[in-house]
Symmetry: none
Subunit: 416 residues, 2 copies
């Protein structure tokens, strides 16, 4: 038995909105252990809607619709479903009453078009909408086929899903076997290299292991099917441990952990503090670090030294070195890191200077050249050179630069 | 003739990622005037992928795939397409060469699994990927059917679409009647208030006007159907002008313009400079300003004064005022703005101090309380208080705070 998510609305075909409902429902189905292999988007068109219902009803047993339940003539979902299964639409008096009350609450009168929202296929149960006027339905038009409809407004759909659909699905026996996933995150290794290192694991059946890449990092998703989250974790834990052992320092965290949160955890554990000096990232490194609530325990702040005068004034970079080596150099990166560490009185100082592009590159200093400086306890200072090239573009080069800086600090904190 | 978007990847079925590729492609198809009635998401499974290809090839003439082109064994898109149409896969030597070069640039060696990415169905044209290793294809496996494949990584897909797919589709006669849109952007006004102000425009047929809200701002999309971008612009221009006149200062820019880019344009025009002092945004304001290439002309840098000691040391905030009024106060916001302006020697100084949450709030200073300070020429200094509440969450509260700061500077620059 498996489900299909069908999102109805011309606004998705025009690209006006992002289909976040499909993502929400996908996560929810995974948590309940309901297999789900297809998602379909179709416009507000009765003929094409009918075709989509026909295909879905032939390949899955649970159809979940969102959208097309509104009061306007182009809201067709319920009508199309009723037509396809040959059921008449009947007006539900409780729904009429509910809609009228909601309008009264807002000091408005119910318009005639809202009566349409109370038309339900004969035999279907109303799926109440506590926060809006469009109810959904739960309907078994034939044995082994269950249909849910939800409005397209995400907040309304979420509450209806949680309050009515989930209890119903659990009463049908779902939620006993769930799919539980862990996403292991890696920095400093390419997708293909990591996939080869862990190739023996990519054919496992439970848990499964699958790699994917994006924004400069690689992830391995480890997914287990089990009767409880605890049982799934038990299946995942030994595999996770082996994968982490194979990857060594290239593994940095799992799920919602970021390089910034991992560095924060390490600093908190050692009771140390950090400050940053940013040129080409312009504040992005500080932004990442402070995205974490409570980061003020170890992150004290820093200097955005975008203009060279700020590097001299606030960080004490030597103007002669700026002239001699240029702002994008190992020397200046190190002086920036020492400068911010000393002035703010933190344990560590982390700096970034580079050419994010698309302009500003030269033959000797091309776009994508980035230096990270790291100053630590005592006189410790090092720098790291990156040549990210031009292919990532300005925004991603800055993102990758900030993460590369954090990764260097992470490796340093782990290997002392 | 119409198109179907097919996104391949188990990560979408698990709800791990939002399907932003479908939205991008939907917008692009609308711009080219290519009708598009279906979107399908399917996992990395050869049997189900085959079924999806079969259904799509029977109902549309243009199939656009994203995802499943990577080097790992679960990347199956190209193979499934070739199998379905009975074409052998052949290794493309130019693609091999291109992948090897890209690895060399990054100082890495190409792994054997990357060779898989060079396997192309016989007869297909390579759709080059300038920023990644996975090329796509353009293929007519039979008359009246064209297939495109793109990698799932959005930034790679965008460039390939723009640089190769669009010119190809135009050469096939598409893009003659286009839908052309302008997105007008507003800050400081709610969606329903703006919609009421411009209600007379919401029923227009060509161009159409539709409101959207998100991330603290409201947009009006003005879309025209015409035979050329120029003709569409002619339809849009008078309506755009009227909408902007109605909105007054709440309108700030269109399309890709951001509050940061608009402020930058104003500063560049007046030959003035800006520095920032950030507490709760931790660098996010500087990050926004420097996202724009060339921002070094007017943005000199700033101080991330996350810890109070940094506010005193690097910005000269009075420690007694910090004690008396607290770090989140109008007084401290103003002193931060003056401090950074004076120390960096810029025309303007912009500061933010607030409680982004979820913790750190008190009865008198709740989560969401944010002060923006603005120091300008001479002794000019003002501050602005915001109460964003808790509903947006930490990340969005920070985003909205940084934009609110920019908006104040924008209004100041426009009204002197």
């Amino acid at each position: 038995m498996s489900a299909e998510i069908i999102c109805v609305g011309t606004e998705m075909l025009l690209g006006d909105i992002l289909n976040s409902n499909a993502q929400y429902l996908a996560q929810q189905l995974a948590q309940l252990g309901i297999p789900h292999y297809y998602q379909t988007v179709v416009g507000d068109n009765p003929e094409r809607l009918k075709q989509v219902i026909e295909i879905a009803a032939s390949r899955v047993q649970i159809l979940i619709f969102t959208g097309g339940l509104g009061p306007t003539p182009d809201d067709l979902t319920c009508e199309a479903i009723a037509n396809f299964f040959g059921a008449p639409l009947v007006e539900d008096p409780e729904v009429i009453e509910d809609i009228a009350q909601k309008f009264a609450q807002r000091g408005r009168e119910m318009s005639p078009s809202n009566r349409k929202q109370a038309l339900i296929p004969q035999g279907a149960k109303v799926l109440p909408n506590p926060t809006g006027t469009a109810p959904g339905i739960i309907w078994q038009p034939r044995p082994e086929l269950t249909i849910f409809t939800f409005p397209g407004v995400p907040s309304e759909m979420y509450r209806m899903w949680e309050e009515t659909a989930v209890p119903f699905l659990k009463s049908q026996g779902w939620g006993k076997e769930i799919i539980y996933s862990r996403s292991l995150r890696f920095w400093g290794i390419g997708e293909s290299v990591l996939a080869e290192k862990v190739s023996a694991y990519l054919n496992l059946l439970n848990p499964t292991v699958a790699p994917y890449a994006g924004k400069g990092e690689v992830r391995l998703r480890v997914s287990a099917k089990a009767t409880s989250a605890a049982a799934a974790e038990e299946l995942i834990a030994p595999i996770e441990k082996q994968l982490i052992d194979i990857a060594g320092l290239d593994y940095y965290g799992a799920d919602d952990e970021t390089l910034a949160s991992v560095v924060g955890k390490l600093l908190r554990a050692s009771g140390e503090t950090l400050s940053v000096a940013e040129s080409c990232t312009g504040g992005g490194l500080g932004q990442m670090l402070t995205e974490i609530s409570g980061s003020s325990d170890y992150f004290w702040g820093g200097v955005i030294s975008y203009d060279n005068s700020v590097k001299v004034k606030l960080l004490g970079v030597n103007p002669e070195d700026l002239d001699k080596f240029g702002a994008v150099s190992a020397t200046v990166a190190e002086q920036m890191a020492i400068g911010v560490k000393t002035r703010l009185g933190t344990t560590w100082g982390l700096s970034i200077t580079g050419i994010a592009g698309p302009t500003g590159g030269t033959d000797t200093k091309p776009v994508g050249l980035v230096y990270v400086g790291l100053a630590g306890p005592g006189d410790e200072v090092t720098s790291f050179e990156y040549r990210f090239g031009t292919i990532r573009g300005r925004s991603l080069t800055r993102h990758v630069s900030a993460n590369a800086a954090l990764d260097n600090l992470r490796r340093r904190l782990l290997t002392r």
